[in-house]
Symmetry: D2
Subunit: 342 residues, 4 copies
């Protein structure tokens, strides 16, 4: 199969390109950039790939659909909201790593993204692709989940789906490395400011909040909101979503562990580490989400720690999971990665 | 006045020694080390002070009481539980930076510290010294608060004292730099393991939990426990205590801000930054506790971020605050410090 | 005395402002900003000083000379080259932290700074202010040395002045934290790029090279150039200049150590640590330059490690040293700083 | 083929195990640990591999030779010096990642390693395995090079082999991340000490010096020593060896670049980046050595920057290169790795 990738210059695009190169079913990758007006070698467009002279083509949806079997968008928010129409109209498969088509509601998009939304009928045609819960098989347009949303939803799923917690007690304290903020320069991610520091940002305003709530509602319609806070860590890669919730009456550690194992033991990428709490480092370099927990019998709360590599399970890796579902490949094809370890 | 310092080799002791050297009312500092059998120059005992030939004396309580007006203990847990008796018996002022005398209950101490406790009657004579709430004036034995306890209690005080939140909804996600773990080598604080990582540790078992609960109970006797988790950051200095709680009916942001300002506007070291959330870096190098907050009207929760320099407000700085109260010095004497900034 | 400070928003300006506030002889500080058109509170101009409502005035040389006894410029390169004339014309004392007036040769300035130079006659009137070697006493315009130049020149001085090495064998491998690059955002100092990395930059092109050579020539006119390379460290503050040179015949470790001690034992801020090699951390927070060395009897080379806090001895601290010399204050006035230690 | 690995618990052993698992020609890996007395699951012996129940066997040379085609030692210095005899006696292939058999001279070993050496006749039978210059084909015992030695020798080879520089002017300022120091805890690698710091260590005493000199002598017998210094960076992985040398008369940048390209253009893992100086980050995750340079026509020096991932090209990766040579596999088998990028 042949795959198109739009946006190889951003961090997620770079990593996705590496994964696709290692994917056994992807025979050819065509690169496109919506800022180019004529073709240029990859080594020029993305100097990090210095030895690769492969061309990057200007963006052309017709060409993309003619020459490829699927297109990945690793573009910033605000791009695919404008570009999604022809693919949906032609039933051509898209895997969109941006947040543009994750929400079903145009008003929500505008409120949280501060940008014009795609037409709402298109938004509704896109399917949210949290790979462990929604198969991309048979879909046209897969909205690949956000990094924070992935770690948080995987951490919450068994608790919410099996009604083990008081949903109005959920508190999520999520932390991310700086790569999540992308290549764009900012004071917050200036080394002198970010190093030796911890910075809460976008309090109650992070654009992954509506995405999390939308998915939680599918699992439990009584949920209408969530207390969720994002903090910038002085590390490059990785997310930890630390989740707190009050256990429902009669729920104990054994019940909870069983729920997590029932949910994830068949999943190749989600590992339940029981009461051995995972560190961020143990998942870096992999598409894994490791989840551990601690029940506090005094307070009646459970704390769940869910960790991912934001560039892999939180972006490019999950995009490949969705590719594998779309085309009925082995679930782990292209994702048999070993952790960085140190 | 003349001050004795026992334990100049640990991180808190080093910083305390620096503060005492800069304190306008401290005329002379005598150093003691309970591991020495004979005097040795400071440059040998603590090579970080390479140019100082000042003697460090073996530990001798009689000598300490004869030659000084106060003694500071910057020793590890388990030391002052054995040594506190003569000072209490003689009414000689002690400021104890260790956790040995913070709790009133010997059973609690043994449960959380995994060490034999001091006799409970002595434990009860020691006064917990959270400087903004308990004056050390007139006290004999001041138990200087723990670093996490300081950040957390200062962050919670207005909410709990003024009954603005549902106390059973409190969740504290606290983060600390590695210096809080001291000089003792461990795998957790080995650079290769700690760098680029985030590690939750001692889940529901941190020894500052009973200290926090004991103090909260003074403010609201209905509190019997707290959901509190500690995470190791890949930074050297600083603590952020991120506190979540559900607001009581009718409490809004204005009410809360007023409560914080009423509580702290007269305090020289606690700064309420309103909705401008503080970063760890902004307090490093100072004895300040900066507190900001974000009310979420959708969830009905408030998030409070309370940051301190764990070595200063979380240890040596607060010890000097307690000294100033004990001896009726200016509250800011010796603590007029400027932030590191960058 | 009253001091004017132009440029409080940059890193060096912030630190200098802190030092001046703590200086016993500075009664009043007036702040100016050449980008302002009308006065504004400091908390607005430099939000890092959130609690300070002190006014920052628009730049006005006449006002500065009327209201102050000295002016500090903590502005970027290219500013004082245009502004220096009135001060020199009026004999009004200036301490200039920028590189604009350090070189004597306008052509050199243009070559290395890629900007128009000040008139060469003004450049020659400015005195280079490496505080251990040129007294600012009696000067009008002091060009405060660059950070790399300070560490390197102090490390080289005894070797060059006393002709202990083959000057054409000198190799300097200098490393700096990111704060040296200032607040300006760049890809090189983006956290995601700088963290976990080491980046050589401006190879053979750093603008401190001609400044170092100019000063070395004063000490040994046979020197015409120097092999000097700069590397960006993933730390915030601090410089280490690692210097290598071949020893002249008959020079051994004892000779060298004597030379360093003869040169620096009377200097309050330069500490010769002999063969105990200094780390960057040990000088952070101080105006010190610590220098240690290792003689290799097999290769006949000496390696000298010279470390400074680039913000203090490398910028604001040395500026205060120059102030003290200009006004005949105690050499350590305002600079009695304790190291950060951890 | 079947491979034995002794020492999977150390950092290099962990990474080597990962590489062998991904090697197309390695059908089975047997793990051994010389500290075990009976078999234990890998998840217990090296908890980082939590999901692997594969057995780790006690060390038994006879068993190793019976069940495998090659043995890798990823053990600390001082182990294989005692264990090498049976393999050499039986002509059984060994790839030894430790430094025990790299030197030919027992006296040198004892001087630099401070441990008893292997019998010198055995030391001479071991072949130093800098993969770009000595083929392991037909060898029995390959001494895999040290990390610093690899970066430095690859950086120096064209200059020394083609006599382009004055060899007595060579100065190497080498820097490494903390993983090079291994899992062993030490104050130097305690996070609180190593973070925000730069520490020169083992001045003129690093055990890789004699190994570098021994190899350089093969290339130019007039070399008898080298000026080489090691510095600990506050990063986890990676080495940069910054090399300075005076160019011989008539040698210019074009000559040098040609020499590097002639030497390395056929090598799959060494990339000459010309005057685009490499960063450490660009090789992390790969077996590459990237080399760039800057000629200074004023000083007549060349600076060469040579970067590697110390865990891969500096240890486990080069060990696999040697495996490929020993068994005549594709040179890049098992080493087709993509850089971490961010």
């Amino acid at each position: 199969m042949q795959a198109a990738l739009v946006g190889v210059t951003g961090y997620a695009g770079m990593i996705l390109y590496q994964l696709l190169k290692g994917h056994p079913n992807v025979k050819k990758i065509h690169l496109y950039d919506h800022k180019l007006t004529e073709s240029a070698p990859l080594s020029t467009v993305a100097p990090v790939f210095k030895s690769e002279s492969k061309p990057v083509f200007p963006y052309d949806p017709q060409q993309i659909m003619t020459d490829n079997d699927v297109v990945f968008f690793a573009t910033s928010a605000g791009v695919t909201s404008k570009l999604s129409q022809p693919y949906l109209a032609n039933g051509f498969p898209v895997i969109d790593l941006s947040g543009d088509m994750r929400l079903n509601d145009a008003g929500d998009y505008q409120k949280w993204y501060h940008k014009p939304a795609a037409p709402e009928n298109l938004m509704r045609q896109a399917q949210y692709g949290l790979a462990e819960f929604e198969s991309a098989r048979g879909q046209t347009y897969v909205a690949n989940p956000g990094c924070y949303a992935t770690a948080t939803l995987l951490g919450l799923a068994p608790l919410v789906q099996q009604h083990l917690i008081a949903v109005d007690s959920i508190v999520v304290d999520a932390k991310s490395g700086t790569s999540g903020a992308g290549k764009k320069l900012s004071t917050t991610t200036h080394f002198t400011e970010a190093n030796d520091n911890l910075q809460i940002y976008k309090p109650n305003q992070h654009q992954h909040i509506p995405e999390i709530v939308q998915e939680l509602k599918n699992w439990d319609p009584t949920i209408s909101t969530i207390q969720f806070m994002t903090t910038l860590l002085p590390i490059t890669r990785g997310i930890m979503s630390t989740i707190y919730a009050r256990l429902n009456h009669g729920v104990d550690q054994a019940t909870i562990l069983k729920a997590y194992h029932d949910t994830y033991d068949d999943q190749p990428f989600v590992h339940v580490t029981d009461t051995d709490l995972p560190t961020i480092k143990q998942v870096i370099g992999t598409n894994n989400c490791d989840i551990g927990l601690a029940v506090n019998s005094q307070t009646g709360f459970v704390m769940v720690a869910s960790v991912i590599d934001n560039m892999l399970k939180g972006a490019a890796g999950q995009a490949v999971q969705n590719l594998n579902q779309l085309f009925n490949y082995e679930p782990t094809a292209g994702l048999d990665l070993q952790p960085t370890l140190i």
